[in-house]
C-alpha cells in the first residue's frame, strides 16, 4: 500500500476538494484552494518520509528512488504554485477555485503516476491525465480572448503530439510485443527498426512536454496568456515529469544501447539552447522572456540527458530542482509586479529596486540562478550538467552551452538593469499578497540554500540515478 500512498493521498485530496466545493456557498471559494494547498503541503511532508517500495501491479508501478525524488519535486513545486495562486485576483479564480484546484490536483496525480510508470499503457494514461487538465487550466480565464487562444494552441499542439507519441508507442509495443518498459529496454539493443521508430516517434510527445525545440512553439504563447502562478508551476512540474519519463523510457535498463540517444539528445539540446536563448533576446514581455529562457534551460538539461550516463541523469535531476526554485520564483515575482502594475512588460520593473528592494533582490537572485552565477542554485546546476557532458566527451556541446550562457546573461541582466539602474516610473511599494510573498520566500530559500550547500541534493540525485544504468 505504501507504494502508492502519495497517489492515494492526492486522490483523497481530490475528493476532499470536490466535496468541499459542493459544500461551499458564495462567490469566494478561495478557501477551497487553501485546503488543497494545505493538503499538498501535508503530502509533501509525507513524501519526505516515504521510502522506496517494491514494484506493484506486476512491475507496472515502481516506487524507487527516482520516482520518490521526482514526486517530492512535483509536490513541492505544486505547493509553491498553489500558494502563489491562492490570492489570484478575479471573479473566475474566486468562484471557480475548486475547479482550478481539482484540475491541478488531477494533473499532479498524473505526474506522480508518470514518475512511477514502467508500463507503456500506464505511462500513456498518466501522461494524458497530466496533460489534459493543463489545457483547461491555461485557458482558465476563459473570458479573456488571449487566454482561450493560449489554451487552444496548447491543446492543438498537445493533442497532435499525444497522437504522434501514441503512434510511436504503438510501434514500441509492436516491436517489443509487450508494454512493459523493462522488456522494451532489454529489446532495444537488438536494434529492431520498428522499436527505434517507435521510440523516436514517442520522443515527440516528451519533447512537446518538456518543450524542446522544435516542439516548444506553444510555450511562449501559453505562458504569456495563462494565469502566472499556474505558468510558474507549468514551467517546471510537467517538465520535470517529462524528464523523469524520458529517463524511464530511454535510459532505464537499456545498458550500452543508451548511446543510440546521444546524437538525438545532443541535436535537440543544441537547437533548443540556441533557439531559446536567441528568441529570448528581443522579448519585452517578462513572461515571454522567461518562457524562452525556460526553453533554453530545457536545452541545458538535454545536455545532461545527452551525456547518457548516471551522473548526467543525476545532474539533470539536480538541475530540475534548481530550476523549480529559480524559475518559479521568477514567475511569481513577475506575477507580483504584474498584479501591482497591471503590466507584464519589462518596463513595469523599472526602478523596482528603489520601490521594493527585497522583491527586486529576490528577482535578482532568481535571475542570477537562471544565469548560472555562483552562490545561487543555478550555478551548480549548469556546472554539473556541463561537467557530466564533458565527462561523456561532449566538449563541443559544453562549449556551445557556455557561449550561449553569455547570451542568456545578457537578457537576464537587462531585467536587472530595469530593476536596478533605471529610475522608477511610479513610486511606492509593490503590493504583495502574503501567500505570494511566502511562495517567493520559499523559492529564495531554495535558490540560496542550494547555492550555498548543494551537496545533499546532488548526492541524493546521484544515488537515485545510479540504478538506471
Amino acid at each position: 500500500m505504501t507504494a502508492f500512498a502519495l497517489e492515494l493521498g492526492v486522490g483523497l485530496l481530490l475528493l476532499v476538494v470536490f466535496f468541499a466545493n459542493l459544500a461551499a456557498r458564495g462567490e469566494d471559494r478561495r478557501w477551497v484552494g487553501g485546503v488543497a494547498a494545505a493538503g499538498v503541503l501535508v503530502l509533501t511532508g509525507v513524501s519526505l518520509i516515504v521510502s522506496p517500495a517494491p514494484p506493484a501491479f506486476g512491475g507496472m508501478f515502481v516506487q524507487d528512488g527516482l520516482a520518490l525524488f521526482a514526486k517530492r519535486l512535483f509536490l513541492a513545486a505544486t505547493f509553491i504554485g498553489l500558494l502563489g495562486g491562492l490570492a489570484l485576483p478575479g471573479a473566475v479564480f474566486a468562484r471557480r477555485a475548486a475547479e482550478y484546484h481539482l484540475l491541478v490536483l488531477g494533473s499532479l496525480l498524473g505526474m506522480l503516476v508518470l514518475a512511477s510508470a514502467r508500463d507503456l499503457i500506464l505511462l500513456f494514461v498518466a501522461f494524458e491525465l497530466m496533460s489534459i487538465p493543463l489545457y483547461v487550466l491555461s485557458g482558465f480565464a476563459k473570458r479573456e480572448d488571449v487566454a482561450v487562444e493560449a489554451a487552444l494552441k496548447f491543446f492543438l499542439v498537445g493533442s497532435v503530439s499525444s497522437a504522434v507519441m501514441a503512434y510511436g508507442l504503438s510501434f514500441v509495443y509492436g516491436a517489443a510485443k509487450t508494454t512493459s518498459l523493462a522488456v522494451v529496454a532489454r529489446a532495444l539493443p537488438g536494434g529492431d527498426p520498428l522499436l527505434v521508430l517507435g521510440l523516436l516517434t514517442a520522443f515527440t510527445g516528451f519533447g512537446f512536454k518538456i518543450a524542446a525545440f522544435p516542439f516548444h512553439m506553444w510555450v511562449p504563447d501559453t505562458y504569456e496568456a495563462a494565469p502566472t502562478p499556474f505558468v510558474a508551476w507549468l514551467s517546471v512540474a510537467p517538465k520535470a515529469a517529462g524528464f523523469v519519463a524520458l529517463f524511464r523510457v530511454y535510459f532505464e535498463g537499456v545498458g550500452s544501447a543508451v548511446a543510440l540517444w546521444v546524437p538525438v539528445a545532443a541535436l535537440l539540446a543544441t537547437l533548443t539552447i540556441v533557439a531559446g536563448n536567441l528568441m529570448a533576446l528581443p522579448q519585452q514581455n517578462a513572461k515571454r522572456l522567461l518562457a524562452y529562457s525556460g526553453i533554453a534551460h530545457i536545452g541545458y538539461m538535454l545536455v545532461g540527458f545527452a551525456a547518457a550516463s548516471a551522473s548526467g541523469t543525476a545532474m539533470v535531476l539536480f538541475y530540475l530542482v534548481a530550476y523549480v526554485f529559480g524559475n518559479m520564483g521568477a514567475f511569481l515575482v513577475v506575477d507580483a509586479v504584474a498584479r501591482s502594475e497591471g503590466s507584464e512588460n519589462l518596463m513595469a520593473f523599472r526602478g523596482l529596486a528603489q520601490r521594493s528592494p527585497l522583491l527586486a533582490l529576490a528577482m535578482l537572485l532568481f535571475l542570477l540562478s537562471l544565469g548560472g552565477i555562483p552562490f545561487v542554485a543555478g550555478f551548480w546546476a549548469k556546472l554539473y550538467v556541463f561537467w557530466a557532458a564533458a565527462a561523456a566527451g561532449l566538449y563541443w556541446l559544453v562549449l556551445l552551452g557556455a557561449i550561449l550562457t553569455v547570451v542568456a546573461l545578457f537578457y537576464y541582466l537587462l531585467v536587472a538593469k530595469r530593476m536596478y539602474i533605471e529610475p522608477p516610473a511610479v513610486t511606492g511599494r509593490v503590493r504583495l499578497e502574503r501567500t505570494l510573498a511566502l511562495a517567493v520566500l520559499l523559492c529564495v530559500l531554495g535558490v540560496v540554500i542550494l547555492g550555498v550547500y548543494p551537496n545533499p541534493v546532488v548526492m541524493a540525485a546521484l544515488r537515485v540515478a545510479a540504478p538506471l544504468f
Binding site: G11, L14, A56, F57, G58, M60, F61, A91, V92, R95, R96, E99, L102, L103, G106, S107, L109, G110, V113, D119, I121, L122, F124, V125, A126, E128, L129, I132, P133, Y135, V136, G139, F140, K142, F171, A175, D192, P193, L194, V196, L197, T201
Partner: protein
C-alpha cells in the same frame, strides 16, 4: 486472392477515401460524416484483425460518442454565427509534402522490419476483461480520474453562466 485479402483492400480503399474526404471536403458537416465513415471502416479493419469486441467499442465510442459531440459543437457554433461553417484549406502543398515526408519516414523504418506470420485467430474478449481488472487495473483507475478531469474541464469551458 483470399476473401480476407479482398476485404482488406476494399476496406483500405474506403478508409483512405473517407479519410481524404475528411481532410479535403469544404463542408465541415460533411467532414464529420466522412469521419464517421472512416471510423466505421476502421472498425471493419478491426474485424478483419479478429477483434470483434474492439469493433463494437469503436462503433459505440467513436461513432456514437465523438461524432455526436462534434455534430453538437458544429451546430452550436453555427447557431452562434448564424451561417454554415465552411472551411478552406491553407498551404495544401506544404502540408502534403510534410505529411508525405513523415509517411515516407515511417515507411523507411517499416520496410526494414521483420514480417511476422499471422498466428491463428482466437476470441479473447474474456481475457481482455480480465486484463482490465487484473494487471491493468491501475491505468484503468487512472483513466477514470482522467475522464472526470476532462469532464470538469469541458463543463467549465462549455458553461455559460460565468
Amino acid at each position: 486472392m483470399t476473401a480476407e485479402a479482398i476485404g482488406f483492400w476494399l476496406v483500405a480503399a474506403v478508409l483512405l477515401a473517407t479519410s481524404l474526404a475528411v481532410v479535403l471536403t469544404p463542408n465541415l458537416f460533411h467532414a464529420v460524416l466522412f469521419l464517421a465513415a472512416a471510423l466505421v471502416s476502421t472498425g471493419v479493419v478491426f474485424l478483419l484483425l479478429d477483434a470483434a469486441f474492439l469493433f463494437a467499442v469503436q462503433l459505440l465510442l467513436y461513432a456514437g460518442g465523438v461524432i455526436t459531440i462534434m455534430v453538437f459543437a458544429i451546430m452550436l457554433t453555427e447557431q452562434l454565427v448564424g451561417e454554415r461553417l465552411r472551411q478552406t484549406s491553407r498551404w495544401v502543398i506544404n502540408g502534403a509534402i510534410l505529411a508525405a515526408a513523415v509517411f515516407v519516414g515511417v515507411l523507411g523504418f517499416v520496410v526494414r522490419s521483420a514480417r511476422p506470420a499471422r498466428p491463428p485467430a482466437a476470441d479473447r474478449t474474456a481475457d481482455l476483461a480480465r486484463a482490465l481488472v487484473g494487471p491493468f487495473a491501475a491505468p484503468f483507475e487512472l483513466l477514470a480520474v482522467l475522464l472526470v478531469a476532462a469532464l470538469v474541464g469541458a463543463i467549465y469551458f462549455a458553461r455559460t453562466e460565468d
